[in-house]
């Protein structure tokens, strides 16, 4: 009985701390994100939600290949 009471208090305290910490961090992360977006938006219009697909000469799929290659080479060395 003692035991579950202690566990319960621990869990409650600790749970509230987690919830508050998480949402506080989320506030910070959100503000940071909003700030970055607002700076980015000033410099250039984000092409979000255009109906016409965009294509470039450097298809970003190559980034996947580069990332994997880099990872594999690092792991070997």
């Amino acid at each position: 009985m003692e035991n579950i009471l202690n566990q319960g208090f621990g869990l409650a305290l600790f749970g509230m701390i987690t919830v508050f910490s998480f949402l506080t961090l989320l506030i910070i992360a959100t503000r940071l994100m909003s700030f970055l977006v607002s700076r980015l938006d000033k410099e250039q219009d984000l092409p979000l939600a255009n109906t016409e697909p965009l294509q470039e000469n450097h298809p970003p799929i190559t980034v996947i290949m580069a990332a994997i290659a880099h990872y594999l080479s690092r792991r070997q060395s």
Partner: protein, 377 residues
């Protein structure tokens, strides 16, 4: 004559037990609440009807190979149905008001006191010798205070499936009772002048932020409370499908056909847990009593947090919107608006209350993640 006797023995009238009769009445009561009182009918109609079906004697519906037992095994025991419902809710949620005023997230955090104090309340009931809840059971009861149906069902299905029926009934009933439970608490804790506080007009949130937010949220969850990742992950997935605007057909289906199908199956599956020997026990009374306390405390701490924040901030928050931090989307936000209008008929709080309202959803899933990670048997 012998066959007539066999027939009589096979009728429901012969086989019906008192317990089943009471459970059928409870099922009818839930239907009454859903249809006439409009208590969360989307869930309570399938739950109530499923509860009736499950207590028909002489036929396997909620047990064995019965259809509701199969639904339950398919999607309730596995968590799939509540997660799909949550995905659909994500696809219906607008984080705009929250992004316009991120500090209101703290209100959604504070209201989760309801969850943890209810957990303690359940343990206190052990102490005074009323019940003998285990820690996972107490945690599952606590989650009623999250005021969020799918989260409550998901957590109970993991931590205490034997209490799922009572917890789901309590969660949805009290969510429907928010307009009765909250206003007296809100008025008791605030002065007339506080209730008249007008909040600043919100900034318009660019679409890019709305697209990025579910990803930021998901990554933060991944780093800090991975136990909440299934719930919040499906929620964020739904929200991303909606906000990114390039998969409108998937978003539409998630918000309509898929969530409706999952709701029907989820409700019937929960109904299949309304069998007498699990529901007609003293613990159910305890759960129903604790549930209303949970809502009350969540409302209280939400309002108090708003008042606390006003001590340190220049941009005053109307403390009524703190009550919306319990979730019960969008009912609690509407209640905050309504109580605000009583003090100042021109002060529309609804949009300001939507921020803490959806923050409350996030808060309860974080709490759910902690409970699943640390209270599991």
């Amino acid at each position: 004559m012998n066959q007539l006797w066999t027939f009589w023995q096979n009728t429901g009238m012969y086989q019906l037990s008192v317990e089943q009769f009471i459970m059928i009445l409870i099922g009818l009561l839930l239907l009454y609440l859903a249809i006439i009182k409009q208590f969360e009918p989307l869930l309570l109609i399938p739950i109530g009807f499923g509860g009736i079906l499950s207590n028909i004697p002489g036929v396997d519906i909620a047990v064995g190979n019965g259809v509701l037992a199969q639904f339950s095994a398919m999607g309730l025991d596995t968590g799939i149905f509540p997660l799909l419902v949550f995905m659909g809710i994500g696809a219906m949620t607008d984080f705009g008001p929250l992004l316009a005023n991120p500090k209101t997230m703290l209100l959604g955090a504070a209201a989760q006191f309801g969850i943890f104090s209810t957990l303690l309340g359940a343990i206190a009931m052990n102490e005074i010798g009323m019940f003998d809840f285990t820690l996972p059971q107490a945690a599952a009861i606590g989650i009623i205070g999250g005021a969020d149906g799918p989260t409550a069902i998901y957590v109970s299905s993991v931590l205490a499936p034997e209490l799922l029926g009572a917890i789901a009934v309590a969660a949805y009933s009290y969510m429907a009772l928010v307009p009765l439970i909250q206003p007296p608490i809100m008025k008791a804790l605030t002065s007339q002048s506080e209730r008249k506080i007008r909040m600043r007009v919100m900034r318009e949130v660019p679409q890019t932020e709305k697209v990025l937010f579910p990803l930021v949220l998901l990554l933060l969850v991944a780093l800090i409370v991975p136990g909440a990742a299934p719930l919040l992950g499906m929620f964020c997935f739904g929200n991303l499908m909606k906000e990114c605007r390039v998969v409108a057909r998937l978003s539409d289906t998630a918000q309509n056909a898929l969530i409706n199908i999952a709701t029907i199956f989820l409700g019937l599956s929960v109904g299949s847990k309304l069998v007498a020997d699990e529901f007609l026990v003293g613990e159910t009374l305890g759960i129903l009593a604790l549930g209303i306390v949970a809502f009350g405390i969540g409302t209280m701490t939400g309002v108090l947090m708003a008042k606390l924040m006003n001590l340190f901030s220049k941009n005053k928050i109307n403390p009524l919107i703190g009550a919306a931090g319990v979730s019960a989307v969008p009912m609690a936000a509407r209640v905050a608006n309504k109580v605000g209008i009583e003090s100042d008929p021109d002060n529309f709080l609804i949009m300001h209350a939507m921020g803490p309202n959806v923050a409350g959803v996030i808060g309860s899933t974080i709490a759910a993640g902690v409970l699943i990670q640390f209270a599991a048997g």
